[in-house]
């Protein structure tokens, strides 16, 4: 976190971020990065906030492999929310994450609607947890969690259960796999979400080039990466125009220019997912690049950039 240029800070409700680039859940593991890559990934954490992979009430082993397949400028995955369960997360990972110099946002998903309330309650009294992201949009689980994010009533219900369980800053993560994302966004806000993040992955599938059978063990998967950036930018643009809550934009952000565009479209922060796989050090270069672009073009500060694409 050393050397963050000035003019880059942004806020998500009560959270102040030193710059607008955070990681997308499920795509960057601070503890593994610290273990494997040269350098100190805890005390010099590159992202302005850290969101670990989504946890669920009970541990999940995840879907059958293969779980990954690269498509044109995109990545299909069907991880299936493999995770150790929220209790192990709290007892094993959280203590190690306490020394992170950035806000910790915990992502939770429910296998049943009521799980959102139960998980949120377990996190409510943990000081280190700065915010909770409700993943109501994972395409890779055959459970309530999937349909949930496509249905306004059930979205509102899940968010309001979490809302009742915690006073923490609540982010609802939306799926693009719906006819009208603004309706779902409004339902989440009505349920009590303080902030919206989007997009989760886009439904897709691939066939094995040789066998012509579905290549993913789970048959279908979620598409991410630059291929979906236009879908994500549109979602951010539409939702930020319609609703008055901060938005975290994501979907294909790979360069500093992409960060600029998500901010301009209306995002207050930008999450980087698949691009971490292209280059696990990408966050640092995006932040430096962002500052450079802003200086070159005389764009004063991130705060002023947010939503400028809507203004004439």
């Amino acid at each position: 976190m050393v050397g963050v240029p000035e003019g880059l800070s942004t806020t998500l409700g009560p959270l102040t971020l030193k710059h607008p680039v955070i990681n997308a859940s499920g795509t960057f593991d601070a503890l593994e990065a610290d273990r494997i890559i040269a350098g100190d990934y805890i005390s010099e954490f590159p992202f302005a906030a850290y969101i670990p992979k989504t946890v669920t009430l009970n541990p999940r082993v995840g879907n059958d492999p293969p779980r990954l397949y690269e498509t044109a400028a995109g990545l299909l995955n069907s991880i299936g929310l493999a995770n150790m369960g929220i209790e192990a997360f709290i007892s094993r990972d959280l203590p190690q994450l306490k020394t992170l110099p950035v806000p910790l946002i915990v992502s939770i998903a429910g296998e049943r609607t009521q799980d959102y309330g139960r998980c949120a309650r377990l996190l409510d009294d943990i000081d280190e947890v700065a915010a909770i992201e409700l993943n109501i949009s994972c395409p890779n689980v055959e459970l309530d969690g999937r349909a949930l994010g496509c249905d306004p009533d059930r979205t509102m219900k899940a968010v309001s259960l979490a809302r009742e369980a915690t006073s923490k800053f609540l982010i609802a993560k939306l799926t693009p796999n719906v006819t009208d994302i603004v309706t779902l966004a409004a339902a989440a806000v009505e349920g009590g979400a303080d902030c919206l993040s989007m997009i989760n992955t886009v439904h897709g599938m691939a066939l094995h080039p040789g066998t012509l059978k579905p290549v993913l063990g789970h048959v279908t998967g979620g598409l991410s990466g630059p291929a979906v950036k236009p879908v994500a930018l549109r979602a951010v643009y539409m939702v930020s125009a319609a609703l008055d809550v901060p938005v975290i934009g994501m979907g294909g952000a790979t360069t500093a220019q992409d960060v600029l565009e998500f901010l301009a479209a209306g995002a207050s922060a930008v999450a980087v997912g698949t691009a971490n796989f292209r280059d696990p050090l990408i966050a640092g270069s995006m932040i430096q690049g962002l500052k450079k672009l802003m200086d070159e073009r005389g764009l004063g500060s991130v705060e002023k950039l947010i939503g400028i694409s809507h203004r004439p």
């Binding site: 593991d29 494997i36 890559i37 400028a73 493999a82 080039p209």
Partner: protein, 264 residues
């Protein structure tokens, strides 16, 4: 399996050598850090440097060999990622993350039987070099489908090598499994320090056979497993294989596993 690996770094390197080896391509670059710290069986995440987003992600490639500061990779073009990498020429730039994963455990002392199938021979050259350097007796059994793949056996000319091809175009006709059985036949039941030990890398069906044969003879077998990867560093949970202790990540718990821990 071995001591905690050295930290990985992400660096761009110019290609300093690029030549065809039958159906494969051998590419070299100067990478002091990797050369100094990599263990046989570890891998690199490699892509062409530059802004093009297709291919999007690096591909996992074994470290084929190390020659002082020179690191070599051996590539079989099977899809768009490996195809693009195999078109790179001297001066083109690679983006390389590594060394990654847990390599082979080299602590035994018995005869080392190195079993490679197709492009699975790639990591065995560095392995053979290390084992030989530590004074172990190394014997390579290399199997290929075609003559053009079998050309890569020339990369093992410093070692004792038997080559097998399915079409008998080079070496002996057949799969590596039969000769492996023969090599292990006098090993039966032994798993002491002097016992022969198997190190294998190749397609799944071959590894399964190796595991069965080694299991039958009681020999220890370490196999390098393959999986589609995205991150290569344990973040995405994408590269799992089924083991006796549940799903394990090839990039982090592997790529080298004890053969008897994998569930096929």
């Amino acid at each position: 399996m071995v001591a905690k690996p050295a930290p990985a770094s992400l660096i761009e390197y110019p290609v300093v050598e690029s030549r065809p080896v039958g159906a494969y391509r051998l590419i070299s670059f100067v990478a002091r850090e990797i050369a100094a710290t990599a263990n046989p069986g570890q891998f690199l995440m490699v892509r062409q440097a530059g802004p093009s987003l297709d291919p999007l992600l690096p591909r996992p490639l074994g470290i084929h060999d190390i020659d002082s500061d020179l690191v070599r990779i051996l590539i079989e073009p099977v899809g768009k990622g490996t195809y693009e990498l195999s078109t790179l020429r001297v001066g083109d730039r690679l983006s390389v993350l590594g060394p990654l994963g847990n390599g082979f455990d080299l602590q035994g002392v018995g005869t080392a039987l190195l079993v490679g199938g197709g492009i699975g021979v790639a990591p065995l050259a560095l392995l053979a070099r290390s084992l030989t350097a530590s004074g172990r007796n190394v014997q390579c059994l290399l199997g290929f489908r075609t003559r053009s793949q079998a050309v890569s056996a020339e990369l093992f000319r410093d070692y004792y090598v038997d080559v097998f091809t399915e079409d008998a175009s080079v070496g002996t006709r057949g799969l590596v499994s039969e000769p492996l059985s023969a090599c292990l036949s006098d090993n039966s039941g032994r798993r002491d320090e002097q016992a022969a030990e198997v190190f294998a890398c190749g397609p799944d069906p071959m590894l399964r056979e190796v595991a069965r044969i080694a299991g039958d003879s009681g020999a220890r077998a370490q196999v390098s497993a393959a999986a589609h990867m995205a991150c290569g560093i344990g973040a995405c949970q994408g590269c799992v294989v089924k083991t006796t202790s549940g799903y394990q990540r090839v990039c982090s718990e592997g790529p080298v596993f004890e053969a008897d821990e994998l569930i096929w």
